[in-house]
């Protein structure tokens, strides 16, 4: 056990976590150059394109240290976005230490802090690593000062590297061996295994990533998921090298996987404790939470005959993404679809992109909503996250909406614009302090509904990319909520309805009308677009009638080509949704979701 090190790399988005991971894998000989693909651990195309990790992966690196001994370094990869902070916390709980990766040019950011706090809560030993020292704008000494003085971390341990060029990476591996403690635990005690992730293998079912805290686990044993209260028989245990490698057993201190005939990833919950059925540990490990969906949106296939395909695709995604929930939904405008729950807006976007990309199903999404708590006049309580289930306003006694505490880290000069942004978004109880000179950590309580809309984009734009943001849900507060409907040529388009605060409704309505006007192509007749609350029109605009659409020349040589153009035009029409007699393209539905640019 003394030759095991379990660690994570925590970093702000884009600070080079995946690149560093790849470099360490390469250095430890886990992969040949031929196999080397940038960002090995980021499997999904979307992850590679956006440079973020969504699904964490773990790998065991065999490393011969300067002391001549062979070590097993378990790198537990973590997702790097606010939507996934619970997943991050469970991954951290599986480790004794963490590399805190900081960009030499960007310095400390909000997520760096948030992740550092998470690491500290889990009592992890921290090795600060300053990355990208090869950049012209790198200021490693200044960043080192920030780390020492502002974060209060040990300056002696700071390592500098360029994950891109490989400079300094060997030293980091040595530091992991010398500075991080080996795991503790007793292989002879009752089994306590922490689930920190799960993924789906089409042949083997769920592959559960675990950290064995105490005890030993072998194939053939009966295990119990303590929170789920389900039992399975272990088929295989092993460790993650570049591929899964079966082992005879896993014991205290080790990180590895379990295959136990668990059909759905959703049947395993990150943070749950696995123990032996016959000799259970006295209590589950602390820190377990049920994953909570906070953003909801309905997903419809553009073509109604793709509903079955969408259902299958969601089932498949769900296999690997336990945080996604969905149930049937219907819309007069869009037909059959699914109401889905997400951890946050990024999670939503990732699911949308995967459905379109991996399953090739063009989609329409409805405006994302949070979950409201509504009390009716007769004291019935209900939760509503779908505008179509919004009760008659006359029957409502009270509505409450979720609030978050946002932590925003910005250079001082952006204080004004960020304050304004938060106030526009109905922010309350703002507070700030200087965690380091020239930087402000600004906290503010905001309705979640205002944040899921386009807050992060806005923050990025008003701070020219310097603002970073993290949030946690705090409580529910009373809200004056209304349902905003969109009418196209007097027909209500149910899929465009949204729940919004009364004070924001006119603005939202106006924006929706304007977006639709941009995206709905001119048609044979004038199209009136209106936004309404109940019978009250709050915004309106028109799409003028198309007046001219004719090809001047068409002779013998052009007939095929011109016909094909018309066929294309026809196919384009087919992809639109017809509401009344108006054809509405997918882009129009999406434009209502997007923030104004």
């Amino acid at each position: 056990m003394k030759n095991i090190r379990n660690f994570s790399v925590i970093a702000h988005i884009d600070h080079g976590k995946s690149t560093l991971s790849d470099r360490m894998i390469q250095l430890c000989g886990g992969v040949t150059d031929r196999e080397f693909k940038d960002q090995l651990l980021d499997n999904m195309d979307i992850e590679r394109e956006r440079g973020i990790t969504i699904k964490s992966q773990t790998i065991c690196l065999p490393f011969t240290a300067a002391d001549g001994q062979e070590y097993a370094l378990n790198l537990v990869d973590t997702p790097g976005h606010v939507d996934f902070s619970y997943e991050v916390s469970r991954a951290l709980a599986a480790c004794e230490g963490a590399l805190l990766l900081i960009d030499a040019a960007q310095g400390v950011e909000a997520q760096t802090l948030a992740n550092l706090y998470l690491a500290m809560e889990n009592d992890l030993e921290i090795i600060p690593v300053i990355n990208k020292i090869d950049l012209p704008a790198a200021e490693p000494d200044k960043v080192a000062e920030e780390i020492e003085e502002d974060l209060g971390l040990d300056g002696e341990v700071i390592r500098k590297c360029s994950a891109k060029t490989g400079v300094g990476v060997q030293e980091i591996l040595e530091t992991i061996v010398t500075h991080l403690p080996p795991p503790e635990g007793d292989p002879d005690k009752p089994l306590e295994a922490l689930i920190f992730d799960a993924s789906y293998d089409p042949y083997r079912g769920t592959v559960i990533s675990v950290r064995i805290i105490n005890g030993t686990l072998k194939p053939g044993e009966q295990i119990l998921f303590m929170h789920n209260k389900t039992e399975y028989r272990v088929e295989e245990v092993g460790q993650f090298y570049l591929t899964r490698t079966p082992q005879k057993s896993l014991s205290a201190g080790q990180v590895g996987y379990i295959i136990a005939g668990v059909k759905n990833v959703a049947d395993t919950k990150p943070g749950d404790t696995i123990t032996h059925k016959d000799a259970p540990c006295p209590a589950p490990l602390p820190g377990f939470q049920e994953v909570q969906q906070v953003v909801f949106s309905s997903i419809y296939p553009i073509s109604t005959d793709e509903y079955e395909d969408l259902a299958t695709a969601l089932e498949k995604l769900k296999l690997n993404d336990a945080a996604l929930t969905f149930q049937k939904d219907t819309s007069a405008a869009l037909g059959f679809g699914f109401r889905c729950g997400f951890l946050g807006l990024l999670h939503l976007e990732v699911v949308q992109e995967r459905l379109e990309r991996e399953f090739d199903i063009p989609l329409i999404l409805t405006v994302p909503s949070v979950r409201y708590q509504i009390t009716l006049q007769d004291d019935t309580e209900l939760t509503v996250e779908n505008p179509s289930h919004f009760p008659d306003p006359g029957a409502i006694a009270r509505i409450e909406e979720p609030f978050i505490k946002a932590t925003i880290l910005i250079p001082e000069r952006y204080m004004g614009v960020v304050m304004t942004l938060c106030m526009e978004r109905r922010g309350e109880n703002t507070n700030y302090h200087y965690p380091m000179p020239g930087r402000i950590e600004f906290t503010c309580e905001l309705p979640l509904a205002e944040v899921i809309y386009d807050f992060y984009d806005k923050l990025k734009s008003v701070t020219q990319g310097y603002g970073s943001f993290d949030y946690e849900l705090i409580d529910y507060r009373p809200s004056d909520l209304v349902k905003l409907d969109i009418l196209v040529n007097s027909e209500k388009v149910d899929a465009l309805s949204q729940l919004t605060h009364r004070d924001r409704s006119r603005e939202r309505g106006l924006k929706a009308c304007e977006s639709l006007k941009e995206e709905i192509p001119r048609q044979m007749f004038k199209i009136a677009i209106q936004a309404a609350i109940g019978g009250n029109i709050v915004a309106r605009t028109n799409v003028a009638a198309l007046r001219k659409d004719v090809t001047a020349k068409c002779y013998g040589g052009d007939i095929s080509r011109k016909r094909k153009l018309l066929e294309k035009q026809k196919a384009g029409k087919k992809r639109m949704k017809t509401v009344g007699n108006v054809e509405i393209p997918q882009s129009a539905f999406l434009s209502v979701l997007k923030s104004e640019q």
């Binding site: 044979m524 198309l546 090809t551 002779y555 013998g556 095929s560």
Partner: protein, 379 residues
């Protein structure tokens, strides 16, 4: 017996016009002799190979490019070769496109003598500034001369090509051009709205904002003025862009819009017979090389199934004011348009885009403005 056309393509141009996206060869006059030779070979080959599909030609059309970059004598020889190889109906319409400043009095006489009986003159504009803008290598005076000489040479059936919706063009300048054109007493006018085709210099200029195209209102007004002025002058609109005195509609083009059969010769030319559309390789050099080696020049053959061919015939026919005969469609395709299109058609009728008059499906005035939108429902 329905019509059968012969089209002969001559791809050479002095200079490529900045709005043109058609296949043409700038310069390359060195290829002319070889090309003519290749056409002769193709003529011989087609007359033999398609013997069973051909009928007496009811129209012949020499188009381009700029056919008149070839000497009049060469064009005459080409025509006589055509007439030698293929039988020709009595009173066949034999047209050739000519560009001002590429022909003189005697050339036109030679062409008339050879048997051409219809001229299509690429006038485009009767404003010198506009001609320069369009990159046309001729002047207004050249165009007027060409028309006058054509008459002297014995051409009675004369079409002028004109364009509107040009950069900087106002309604008044357009009217002036039209009036001036009518003074030349053409029997036929082809009047095209300038279309910005992707990949052309005009497309790039539009992107850069250096093209000042008139707004939609102005363009619509220009079209309205056109129809009114031409109506008064006795030229009736019979297709989206074509107007003629009674009896002078272009028979060759009507055959296209009726989805009739035709043979096409030359690089990039298209032929349509035996329910198949053939497209020749659109590269003059390779076209020649293939014929020299006795290889096939058709790069594409398209055979639509019955329903697709039916729909194509409908949309092509709708380009004409006369529209398309429902009875003829039923005869030809064994499909009844009214039941085939059912709801879509009835909606379009309700929306005032199409109508059925005396057994013919036609676009309404409104439908003509939105022809593509309508056709995209019927294609």
């Amino acid at each position: 017996m329905s019509d059968f056309g012969l089209y002969l393509h001559i791809p050479f141009c002095l200079k490529k016009c900045p709005y043109c996206s058609f296949y043409s060869l700038e310069g390359r006059m060195d290829l002319v002799e070889r090309y003519v030779q290749a056409i002769n070979t193709q003529l011989r080959f087609c007359a033999e190979a398609y013997r069973n599909h051909l009928r007496p030609m009811t129209s012949i059309f020499f188009g381009g490019g700029t056919p008149t970059l070839l000497p009049a004598a060469a064009l005459s020889r080409l025509l006589s070769k055509c007439l030698e190889r293929f039988s020709c109906a009595d009173e066949a319409e034999i047209s050739i496109e000519v560009n001002p400043a590429t022909v003189d009095r005697s050339d036109l006489a030679v062409l008339r003598q050879a048997g051409f009986n219809r001229l299509s003159i690429g006038v485009q504009s009767l404003q010198d500034a506009e001609l320069r803008q369009l990159g046309r290598p001729h002047t207004v005076a050249d165009a007027v001369d060409t028309v006058r000489w054509a008459r002297t040479a014995g051409f009675e059936n004369i079409n002028l090509d004109l364009m509107y919706g040009l950069s900087g063009q106002g309604i008044q300048t357009w009217k002036t051009t039209l009036e001036h054109a009518l003074e030349l007493q053409p029997t036929h006018l082809s009047i095209y709205e300038l279309t910005i085709e992707a990949g052309t210099p005009f497309a790039r200029m539009e992107e850069q904002g250096t093209l000042f195209l008139p707004d939609e209102d102005t363009v619509l007004l220009m079209l309205e003025e056109t129809q009114q002025l031409l109506m008064q002058a006795g030229l009736q609109r019979y297709e989206i862009s074509n107007y003629a005195q009674p009896g002078y509609q272009c028979r060759h083009n009507i055959n296209y819009w009726q989805n009739g059969e035709y043979l096409g010769l030359g690089a990039g030319a298209v032929a349509f017979f035996n329910k198949t559309r053939f497209t020749a390789i659109a590269n003059a050099e390779q076209f020649c090389a293939r014929l020299e080696k006795g290889q096939e020049v058709w790069m594409e053959k398209e055979k639509l199934d019955r329903e697709a061919a039916f729909r194509e015939t409908v949309i092509m026919g709708l380009r004409m004011t006369a529209g398309v005969s429902l009875a003829a469609l039923t005869d030809h395709f064994d499909l009844n348009a009214e039941s085939y299109y059912s709801d879509t058609l009835h909606r379009l009728i309700r929306q005032g885009m199409v109508r059925i008059v005396q057994g013919r499906l036609q676009l309404t005035a409104q439908g003509f403005l939105l022809a593509n939108t309508v056709m995209a429902e019927l294609v």
